[in-house]
Symmetry: C2
Subunit: 538 residues, 2 copies
């Protein structure tokens, strides 16, 4: 699958430079490209304990994205999924370590252990105080003597980072990191493999299956399991965690391995909060992409027992925006629906003249059903007549419950009826027309003025202007003439409707998607309906 | 492709509940499931202007993820890629609107315009002040009269949100939103289509092609273009923007459409900062997934002219962590590499006794090359003998430049030589052994004590314990006996090496991956090398 990269060998340095350019000056890098790729805090004065992490690339935002006040001091970046060299790590250590010393936070992979380890030895030969901790939070294989380091590493970065920022000594920061490592457990699941830049994608996971207990380098999970859905996936993952968790409050980190959508991650968060470990989850970090495996459609959950001290350190402000804050896990608060969703139906009232007028309007539309459908069939799906006739029939049936004697309320009531009985965009648009007209009438506008205001609002919301080949082309001129009498309005409506036959570049409504040949010579059926209504009324 | 969802029809409500559960109590929802899906600020007192947005789901974190202090007051969520109902929007408006009124921020899609529009009319009938703005930032088709609303909507949310939070009036907030909408332009590109939950994926984009000018609902882009790489992709996108941008400072929002990896997004950020529009980019939001199209492997860039006032509003603190902060776009700051990467070579010195001893050690390892290779071939790749002999030959060749008379410096110098001449993990581990021993010797430990400390460090970093079937099984007992003389050390080393033949459950090193039958009865070649060295020396 194609990816947004350039030359494969430039992938890591370009990603680092992008991260630095978008950091607002918070980050810088050592001048050692292409072999030495070290991202450092640009505001670092070496007065506190330095935290250096890193490893292979492909885990973004880890690790460069977590460099900044309150988290890492430097990140040493290897090639995709490959450890950085001893020289690169040493350069990172030497660049940031002052009299307070330096803690190396290393994920448990042989290459990282050895290269960071030897770099630490070399740095010590310069008289620097350098400690090193090895994160091994993966519980995929419970009896493996060398568990991998995965997303739980973020707990170490954040807690040790907050301590170092507060001025703690190297020994205390190291002890805190060791405490976090001892308590952190992680496990992940994926529905697909990842795509290593420049390499073909391996299709290892069959449809209907998922891999459980995977690392962050595309290696196979320890088992393939049947995949049923998000709930079962989260249950499988959290049951593994439950087996090794103490019965006390924990923080959970919900990590996107890179390719799960935000929608999916939110669903997984919902499941996590109701999972077998839910009763001991007090705090959640994420869901967010923190320790990815390129574009892997998967997730991991890391848990760590939550003391008051660690709660404070996890919640302490920090600069890197890749750290997504942590929040208490809470039940869903629901708020009662507001009153007013079922509109108060105005008191029905009669007015024989209005009843006769509305009935006449409706009957005209019912009579024109066939003609308007036929016209619509020439440029659309042939249902304009039926849509209007159906609404007209429903309105006639509703006359007895309408406030016929209260014209202001009547507009709104008609709008309400139309929005319930008339489908499609036109139903909503006519509902807006009558509701807005009612609104205007209640502010004291004349009936015609109110209808004009309704049209304005309908145009504003629907987006149709005069000349766009819609019902507006007949309705607007008709309303503009209506104060002079219904006859003048009818003439104006007819002229407007006939003009639509010459408009072949429709700009709003469905006709915008129809080509010119199909439109030429045919009136717009909505405009034609308006014209016929006014003509027959006059 | 399988996704982390449960029942298709529960997708949106489960995602909303997950977002609320992970919000730490900042969010709540109206009690209107399944049809009314409205997320609201849980701390809202209606004293300020309310901002309501929403639309179809599938754009997460938009819109629920942007509800919170300083941004939206409520988000009304439709089904995936479908507008919410009029009732749902009305419920949202009624729930959050107080005397200061409410601004609806609506993306320019017919369904959203109509449903939000009619809901606004209904809310006004309750006497509420409701304004509505329509975001139409897409420039994919420059002459389209109804451009779509896409990721530029985030500028509106943030700027209007900061104004509302500061207590501005509805009119002023509306004017600000209209100003932002008038100035915002967006365009996107994708390498693949998105996967709508419950629907098969459409494979519309051929390998080697990309779609330029796409919406956020999986609809096809206005053109398919050849895809060459990240630079050309960003150039194509920014050239479209350049054609419609004024020559003044802008802010850019770099949006992940959902399926691009963090690595790719960083590379795209790097390209954006060097693109045809770079000279006018002062501020960047992202890269981050803000307005997604489910899992689409694509990105969009939105730009907006940057006044001092808008800069302040964009930078104002806000609660939603989905807003990724904005940062100045800066050139990459590079910091000079630290001194010390090329270690200062200690002054060479001679000591005939030490020269003879080291030469003897090296010659023993050279003599054993064949035997050790043969032993290694039984459980590995048969190169232990050659690896050690090669290092021994190189060390003999280096004798003239070693500080033979300064034993403390000598350990470190040997470590340095080994790290340069001996490949693989064993080279790094022995380098750590000698470097740490030198470190210990310089702190005043005896030579034997220093070697023991070197072993400790090597074990700590390499992870091998006694009994793990490595060279440690011979080296550790030998060093423990070394103070009693070389003969006792040789006996101990032999005993340890022979014991390794009974260890079939290797826990460290390469043998951990070999099955028991291949190990049974064969000494570990590293341990055997140590034993033979001590035996021949004694």
């Amino acid at each position: 699958m194609a990816q947004f990269i350039n030359k494969k060998e430039d992938t890591v340095i370009e990603a680092i430079d992008g991260t630095i350019r978008a950091s607002g000056g918070a980050l810088a890098r050592l001048d050692g490209y292409p072999h030495i790729r070290v991202v450092v805090r640009n505001d670092w004065d070496k007065s506190k304990v330095a935290l250096v992490s890193g490893g292979g690339s492909g885990h973004e935002p880890a690790h460069a994205g977590f460099v900044g006040e309150g988290m890492l001091t430097a990140a040493v970046c290897g090639d995709v999924f490959a450890s950085p060299s001893v020289d690169a790590v040493l350069a990172g250590i030497l660049a940031v370590t002052g009299p307070s010393g330096c803690l190396l936070i290393v994920k448990n992979y042989t290459g990282d252990r050895l290269n960071f380890g030897l770099a630490a030895e070399r740095a010590r030969a310069f008289g620097l105080k350098v400690n090193m901790v090895i994160v091994d939070d993966d519980i995929a294989l419970p009896d493996l003597p060398q568990p991998r380091g995965v997303a739980g590493t973020l707990f170490v970065h954040k807690i040790a980072g907050a301590m170092a920022e507060s001025g703690a000594s190297l020994d205390d920061v190291t002890k805190a990191a060791e405490r976090v490592i001892a308590g952190t457990k992680s496990i992940g699941m994926s529905l697909d493999t990842c795509t290593v830049p420049g390499s073909p994608k391996e299709n290892r996971i069959a449809t209907g299956m998922a891999e459980l207990g995977l690392g962050i380098h595309g290696e196979a999970g320890v088992q393939q399991v049947e995949y049923v859905g998000a709930k079962q996936a989260m249950t499988a993952v959290t049951e593994k965690l439950l087996a090794v968790m103490e019965n006390k409050p924990h923080v959970a980190l919900l990590n996107n391995l890179g390719g799960a959508s935000m929608l999916e991650m939110s669903i997984l968060a919902n499941e996590l909060a109701q999972s077998p470990i839910a009763k001991n989850l007090k705090l959640i970090v994420g869901p967010a992409a923190m320790m990815t495996s390129l574009d892997m459609r998967g997730f991991s959950v890391s848990v760590y027992p939550l003391s008051a001290e660690d709660h404070a350190l996890l919640s302490a402000p920090c600069e890197p925006s890749a750290w997504p804050k942590c929040h208490s896990v809470k039940a869903v608060t629901t708020i009662e629906l507001p009153d007013g969703l079922t509109p108060i139906r105005p008191m029905a009232s009669d007015d024989p003249e209005m009843r006769a007028f509305l009935t006449q309007c409706c009957q005209i539309l019912i009579e024109e059903e066939g003609d308007l459908n036929a016209l619509d069939a020439k440029s659309g799906d042939g249902d304009t007549g039926s849509t209007l006739a159906g609404a007209a029939r429903a309105l006639i049936a509703a006359l007895d419950r309408l406030p016929l004697a209260d014209h202001t309320q009547l507009y709104r009531a008609i709008g309400q009826e139309l929005s319930q009985t008339m489908g499609g965009s036109s139903g909503v648009l006519l509902a807006i027309f009558f509701t807005a007209a009612g609104d205007a009438a209640s502010s004291g506008l004349s009936m015609v003025g109110a209808l004009k205001e309704g049209l304005n609002r309908m145009q504003q919301i629907g987006g149709a202007q005069l000349g766009d080949r819609t019902m507006v082309d007949a309705l607007k001129p008709a309303l503009d003439e209506l104060e002079t009498g219904i006859a003048g309005a009818a003439v104006a409506a007819r002229k407007g409707a006939d003009h639509t036959a010459t408009i072949v570049q429709a700009k709003a409504g469905r006709a915008a998607y129809i080509n010119a040949e199909q439109l030429q010579g045919h009136n717009d059926p909505g405009a034609e309906a308006v014209a016929r209504l006014f003509e027959k009324l006059s």
